[in-house]
Symmetry: C2
């Protein structure tokens, strides 16, 4: 990945990671991201889902989406963050969080090729629930036409990671204050069937492996 001035981690540079492996892993684990784009001279930040295929990220939404319209053919910033824990230091000053985040800068382009568009929509479903795209009904031509897909190359990007215990000063170690980390995990609970589900349709096997074993954000 390119570690140029714009993506270089300046605050706590020891937390920066520019390897494609780390960046891809965080993007794959995060269920969603936040996309920032300019609209009438102002940054706008909205949550959305993404999927990675190789060195490319795909975004999607309604063809009429104001966000996709503003984000298309324009410089955007895509940020995905996974919260791993609360870091409780003896001092208020050294409180922190353990997290893994990725920032990607680039220009998102609309995907107009139908084959790539279908592949991207499949990847967006697979990103959230692996195995699902083989089960759910694929998009019709009308659905495809009313969906816009954007592609963003993961070129200019960086990861920032904090792990481990708090970093109090030596003097503060004498304080009578508990210090440590409260780990956080995104957990799934039992799937809730649609109230209108047809009788006799079992919960699919591919829903069993979901949850914190595989991902945390």
């Amino acid at each position: 990945m390119e570690a140029n001035d714009r993506v270089r981690v300046r605050r706590h540079p020891e937390r920066g990671d520019y390897s494609a492996e780390t960046i891809h892993q965080i993007l794959d684990e995060a269920y969603y991201c936040h996309v920032g784009f300019a609209s009438r001279g102002q940054s706008v930040v909205l949550p959305t889902t993404h999927a990675r295929v190789g060195d490319v990220l795909y975004l999607h939404g309604a063809a009429a989406s104001a966000m996709l319209n503003a984000a298309s053919d324009a410089p955007i910033c895509l940020t995905a963050t996974i919260l791993d824990g609360l870091v409780l230091a003896r001092s208020v000053y050294h409180h922190s969080m353990n997290y893994r985040s990725v920032v990607v800068f680039g220009v998102a382009r609309e995907v107009t090729d139908e084959t790539e568009k279908r592949m991207a929509l499949e990847a967006l479903v697979e990103h959230v629930v692996p195995g699902r795209s083989k089960d759910a009904r694929p998009p019709t031509g009308t659905e495809l036409a009313s969906t816009r897909v954007l592609r963003l190359a993961i070129g200019e990007s960086s990861a920032k990671i904090r792990t481990g215990p708090p970093k109090d000063s030596e003097a503060d170690h004498a304080l009578d204050v508990w210090a440590g980390v409260v780990p956080l995990h995104l957990e799934t609970s039992a799937p809730t069937p649609d109230p209108e589900i047809r009788p006799g349709i079992p919960v699919p096997d591919y829903l069993r492996g979901l949850g914190s074993a595989r991902r945390n954000g």
Copy 2:
């Protein structure tokens, strides 16, 4: 809250909520947010923690932080998102997520008054772990000087919420595909003491109530 054109929810307007109560509840539950600001003509989106005191949000960081420098006295967008579930429809097209998000637009101003600054730093710790600020050592003068605090009024803001089952078309109800929601919760696991913790310091009572009972993001 002001529901002007910039914050009005245009895509799925039925998901929009402009009440202060809803907006405050989401901001209070979310452990962190993403802040978008302009830097050299480009949107930059970074994760950070926040705290709400009445109608004001506080952000903080190192005095030398490039993010706080760029976000100070400039229009920013602060977005907090809580993921509540994966929505599996019978069609790829109707897949979605259940979530609650808040977008706040405004100009963040540096807090220079020492009393307000100390109150904000206390609120930032209390936001994450209620009760903690009474226990941890308060900032020294040097620590206070090396920390920058910004205040952002929650004026121009909106919430967007999706809940409930998937919304497949009537025709798709006949498909032999499971549909429903996989609920997600951010759970805490047992606190991990700092390896250098002094013997005999117990895990504080205020860490017991943390987790999904109170919050999900």
